[in-house]
């Protein structure tokens, strides 16, 4: 327990150790630590950025999906509209065609009627003339009475 040269020796030893630590141990370790700290911070920032980007991408994808759905329903609505239009057009076409056919048929019938009526009229005239001849027992001068005959035929 005597104070002796050990005191000085310890001081010198201590100083040498501190110097060695100061020169060769502390700087590389602290540098590595701060470098790693920076690296980790960068990594975390990158991760956060990545997450943010992913969120953005998801949002964008959802938007696109929504757009696509909207467009699809638009297209379907248009198609339905167009289909009903086509059906309507077809109906209209059919109706006009039917009316046209009917009109044609009506005209033909009219013609037939007229023709039959004409024919009938002529027959009636002949019949009437022959009937009148029989009643009068004399020949009717067709030439003399042509005008009255025509008038008669016209009345029929």
């Amino acid at each position: 327990m005597n104070i002796n040269l050990t005191l000085i020796g310890q001081s010198i030893t201590f100083a040498v150790f501190v110097w060695f630590c100061y020169a060769y141990i502390w700087p590389p370790l602290v540098n590595a630590l701060s470098e790693r700290k920076k690296k980790i911070a960068d990594g975390l920032a990158a991760a956060e950025r990545g997450q943010h980007e992913q969120e953005l991408a998801e949002k964008k994808a959802a938007e696109r999906l929504k757009d696509a759905k909207g467009q699809a329903s638009d297209i379907i609505a248009q198609a339905q509209k167009r289909a009903s239009e086509i059906v309507d057009e077809a109906k209209d076409d059919a109706r006009t065609e039917a009316e046209r056919i009917k009109a044609g048929a009506d005209a033909e019938i009219e013609q037939e009627i007229n023709r039959a009526r004409e024919h009938l009229r002529k027959e009636v005239v002949v019949l009437a003339i022959s009937g009148a001849e029989k009643i009068l027992k004399k020949e009717v001068n067709k030439d003399a009475h042509a005008s009255s005959l025509d008038e008669l035929a016209g009345q029929l």
Binding site: Q10, F17, Y22, L33
Partner: protein, 298 residues
């Protein structure tokens, strides 16, 4: 474990004596064979055991940390590297928390103190007779020395020389930086113009010696308290280990009881050796911080 030839008192004394190398009274150089001889050698002698262990442990510390420093990269650390970096971060945090000046030497010094003092204190946990017993056995076997006169103290921090030596180095640094940062005038002013000051010149002149006395005591108390705190704690701890070790010689019942005591005290001592290393480091940082404080204007 106390040898039959030794009484308990002799056993304790034997354990408390350093292996001292110096000049004998008859003029020859050699190891002291008794406490009296060691005392007679005076200042011009050296405690071989203290120097050996402190240098060995210091070199161990530097070697391990140097290896870690060489391997240090910004990549993922592993194992020992991680542990070393944890210590570095801890010390760095302590320095940043307590030291406000700008001085690159403070943090490495704090690290050196913390790890070195811890390793030195750790020697206290090695059973008190192992190393001294081995050295005594080797000395008697290979050199024919009387084992009772071979002294060997394993824990350098139970030698006041070691703790005073460290505290002295720290003290010198604080003085050096006090002069460097504050200037001669600033430092002198700090020592003489506090705590009493007066605008009256005559009164101030009276105050100066009083202030100086107070401040000088405070200044010198710093290294003293720094070293005595460590020394006292470690010495007391060592003493308790020695007392417990004596119980091993007192029959098997006392021996088993001593074993439990030994275990308990050793576990508790783990806390003390770490705490003392931490306190030594923190106080050094604080003293360095005080040395770096620029004086306020009065």
């Amino acid at each position: 474990m106390a040898e039959e030839a030794l009484t308990a008192g002799q056993y304790i004394k034997h354990h408390l004596q350093n292996m001292t190398y110096g000049q004998h009274a008859d003029g020859t150089w050699g190891l002291a064979h008794s406490a009296e001889e060691a005392k007679e050698m005076g200042f011009m002698s050296i405690n071989v055991d203290t120097m050996f262990w402190s240098i060995l442990l210091g070199v161990l510390f530097l070697w391990i940390f140097r290896r870690a420093a060489k391997n240090a990269t910004a990549d993922t650390p592993s194992g020992l590297q991680n542990f070393i970096e944890m210590i570095i971060e801890f010390v760095d945090g302590s320095v940043k928390g307590a030291f406000n000046g700008r001085n690159a030497i403070v943090a490495p010094m704090a690290l050196t103190i913390f790890v070195w003092v811890f390793l030195i204190n750790f020697m206290d946990l090695i059973p008190v007779d192992w190393l001294p017993g081995s050295v005594a056995w080797m000395a008697s076997t290979f050199f024919g020395a009387d084992p009772h006169h071979v002294y060997f103290k394993v824990v350098p921090s139970t030698d006041p020389n070691a703790t005073f030596g460290m505290a002295l180095a720290v003290f010198m640094l604080t003085i050096y930086y006090s002069f460097k940062i504050k200037g001669v005038k600033g430092f002198a002013g700090e020592l003489t113009l506090h705590p009493f000051s007066s605008s009256n010149n005559v009164l101030q002149l009276i105050f100066i010696p009083i202030n100086f006395l107070l401040e000088f005591v405070a200044l010198v108390a710093k290294p003293l308290s720094l070293s005595l705190r460590l020394y006292g704690n470690m010495f007391a701890g060592e003493m308790i280990f020695i007392l417990i070790a004596i119980m091993y010689g007192g029959g098997w019942a006392l021996g088993i009881f001593g074993g439990f005591l030994h275990l308990g005290w050793a576990i508790f001592h783990i806390l003390i050796i770490t705490l003392q290393a931490y306190i030594f480091m923190t106080l050094t940082i604080v003293y360095m911080d005080l040395a770096h404080q620029v004086p306020e204007e009065h």
